[in-house]
């Protein structure tokens, strides 16, 4: 997917692994999922542990062996820290990595009894609809709520927590270190512009987008991009709905489509919208089709997302010169 930085990073992963010697770096790969090394970790951590999740302190008495994840991001994190053999069921939206034990459990309209049927010893969720957390508490099933991250640090913290909770704290620490170094490298790799390019991150075709104060916005900010939606900062929502006229007037240099799967948008459909042909990004072919799920989850694949952004910048630079 991402030739140069990817290989470089991979090589360094191997180097790191050899340095750490005894520790096998498990199938994390920051979400590439291609190095599906089976979890051979012998370190199980010391239980009981108490982790501080969004729903308060969660005590876990033994290494969980029957985890149910209702959070697609949580699922990605669990697999990335090497807890994959401990996961018995994931919700219908968890689709990454492909080998997840997908069920038709719902994270949006969950039924607690249906979850209890899996006899879980740990449940991961990002939201708390239908009194989910309290109901699981009533059944004495430990539950960790990990809400959508607002910053990269939230992501690191959630990964670390999941590592502790599942007995994979070392792998989690390594994963976080890898993510940090990969991000650092990608940021260095990103071309610098005298005038920062502007971008529009599209959540759907009706103009919903993000400001720089969101998790997604933070990723773009890392490489110095300027968000056209920041004009809407302070109107109350960090997920404002921009008028099409405003997008035309702002004339972004880059358009990122995070609505390719949900809503069938593509560079082609964007170009066909009335007036959008005149936008610089459309004229120069700088409309980037993102994988919706990669660009909306705050898990380990956020580095892949940044990678795509950096590639788009590189293309933009070569087009200019």
């Amino acid at each position: 997917m991402t030739p140069t930085p990817y290989r470089f990073w991979w090589a360094r992963r191997k180097f790191l692994a050899s340095v750490l010697g005894a520790l096998t770096l498990v199938g994390t790969a920051c979400g590439t999922g291609r190095d599906g090394t089976p979890s051979t970790s012998t370190q199980t951590g010391v239980f009981p542990v108490t982790v501080k999740a969004a729903n308060g302190d969660v005590r876990i008495d033994q290494r969980p062996e029957r985890i149910v994840s209702l959070s697609p991001t949580g699922t990605e994190m669990l697999f990335a820290v090497g807890a994959k053999d401990q996961v018995v069921a994931v919700d219908e939206s968890s689709d990454y990595p492909p080998e997840v034990p997908k069920t038709d459990l719902s994270g949006l309209q969950p039924n607690v009894e249906a979850i209890a049927k899996f006899n879980p010893d740990l449940v991961i969720t990002s939201d708390d609809p239908n009194n989910l957390v309290k109901s699981l508490d009533a059944l004495d099933i430990p539950v960790m709520r990990q809400p959508p991250a607002r910053t990269l640090d939230d992501t690191y913290q959630q990964i670390t927590q999941l590592g502790v909770a599942t007995g994979h704290s070392t792998e989690a620490a390594n994963l976080v270190a890898d993510m940090k170094s990969r991000i650092e490298r990608l940021v260095k790799l990103a071309p610098k512009f005298s005038e920062p390019p502007t971008y529009y991150h599209e959540l759907d075709a009706t103009g919903y987008t993000v400001t720089s104060r969101t998790f997604i916005g933070e990723i773009y900010r890392l490489v110095g991009l300027k968000n056209i939606a920041d004009a809407a900062t302070g109107t109350g929502s960090e997920y404002p709905q921009l008028a099409a006229e405003f997008v035309l007037k702002a004339d972004p240099d880059l358009i990122f489509l995070a609505d390719t799967k949900c809503c069938g948008q593509s560079a082609k459909t964007v170009a066909k919208r009335p007036g959008w042909k005149e936008i610089t990004a459309v004229k120069t072919g700088a409309v980037v089709e993102l994988d919706d799920s990669m660009a909306s989850r705050w898990g380990p694949r956020v580095t892949d997302f940044l990678d795509v952004v950096v590639q788009a910048l590189a293309k933009l630079e070569s087009a200019k010169s």
Partner: protein
């Protein structure tokens, strides 16, 4: 005051007394619905074991079942409170619907008529926007916000629904309710738009759910629903008189406006409590009283008590559908009641047209 008036009302000719055979049938239906609600769910619990569990809780009987602790928790912490809450909410909405239809002399009226729903919706949205993350709260702010919003909505409607210095007529009240509801809904959507991250939570609430945990919500709304129920049962004769018309009621020595205020207050209290814990569940307040009317006669002396019982039974069954039809996902309860309710509503409309 009103109670004194009741004594002066001569018994109506068409008013029938609630026959106690009907009462027995109604109670049996409710018990059957409750039992089905307790026995059926995504997790299979053996009926024998559940029976033992229930008997075991009775005094002087010791009959331990072979349910595992987790199954016991499913029974006592998930299903039983949910069935109880469904019964309370269904009863509250159905009797409020019956009462509103009586005092407004309009068969199409539902408990949300005077802005209860819109007020509660705005309350919930504001609570989600300004007090997000209720994990650390000792009490859940959402029901309180919904309850307060609902009461404010109706109070405003009532105060504003005064026509030209004269007393409130049903028409001005209903129109004021429509205006208030549009206004509140607009404000709610405005806040929702500015805080899109709360959208999903508001959405879940708007579609209605009985997903609870433990008995907290049941205890929370029990006093309000009980008070509302007792008041409406006491008012059932007055509702019969009111259905004739304000002026006729006046000649019978009943102050129509005052009775209307009392009935609206009682019905609103129950509705607001129901809305606070379950969100917006449509159609219960319309279809249940109308079914009673079709089956058992026009008198509110029959309709009000039977609406309470059958409203409870109906919502328990609807919720059973909501949580089992698409296992392991839940269907929003408001969707189930509307799917059943909308066709029925059309039937009622057809009948009303033929009669009128």
């Amino acid at each position: 005051m009103e109670l004194v008036a009741v004594q002066r009302v001569p018994p109506e000719v068409r008013g029938t007394k609630l026959r106690w055979r009907t009462g027995v049938v109604a109670i049996s239906c409710l018990l059957a619905a409750g039992l089905a609600g307790i026995l059926i769910g995504p997790v299979r619990l053996s009926p024998v074991a559940v029976g033992q569990e229930l008997l075991d809780r009775l005094p002087l009987i010791h009959l331990p079942s072979d349910l595992s602790p987790r199954e016991q928790a499913i029974l006592w912490q998930l299903r039983m409170p949910r069935v109880a809450l469904g019964g309370l909410v269904g009863a509250a909405l159905a009797m409020a619907g019956a009462a509103y239809q009586g005092v407004f002399r309009n068969p199409l009226v539902d408990p949300y008529l005077l802005g209860v729903a819109a007020g509660a919706g705005l309350g919930v949205t504001l609570a989600l926007v300004y007090f997000p993350g209720q994990a650390g709260w000792p009490i859940d702010p959402l029901p309180i916000a919904a309850f307060t919003g609902a009461l404010i909505g109706v109070a405003l409607t009532y105060v504003l629904g005064r026509s030209n210095g004269k007393s409130r007529t049903t028409v001005t009240l209903v129109l004021a309710g429509v205006a208030m509801a549009s206004f509140f809904t607009a404000v709610q959507i405005y806040f929702q738009q500015r805080h899109a991250d709360t959208f999903r939570e508001v959405y879940v609430w708007i579609l209605g759910t009985l997903a609870t945990s433990g008995w907290r919500q049941v205890i929370l709304i029990l006093p309000y629903v009980a008070a509302s129920g007792i008041a409406l049962i006491l008012c059932r004769r007055l509702l019969d008189v009111m259905s004739v018309g304000d002026e006729e009621a006046d000649t019978l020595g009943i102050r129509a406006a005052r009775v209307r205020l009392a009935v609206v207050a009682a019905a609103t209290l129950g509705t607001a409590a129901a809305v606070a814990v379950s969100g917006l569940i449509g159609f219960v307040g319309i279809i249940v009283p109308h079914t009673m009317r079709l089956l058992f006669g026009e008198s509110y002396r029959v309709i009000v008590p039977l609406s309470i019982i059958f409203g409870a039974a109906f919502l328990v069954l609807a919720d059973l559908m909501a949580r089992t039809a698409l296992t392991p996902t839940e269907i929003p309860l408001g969707v189930v009641t509307a799917v059943v309710g909308a066709p029925f509503f059309l039937l009622v409309l057809r009948r009303a047209r033929r009669v009128g």
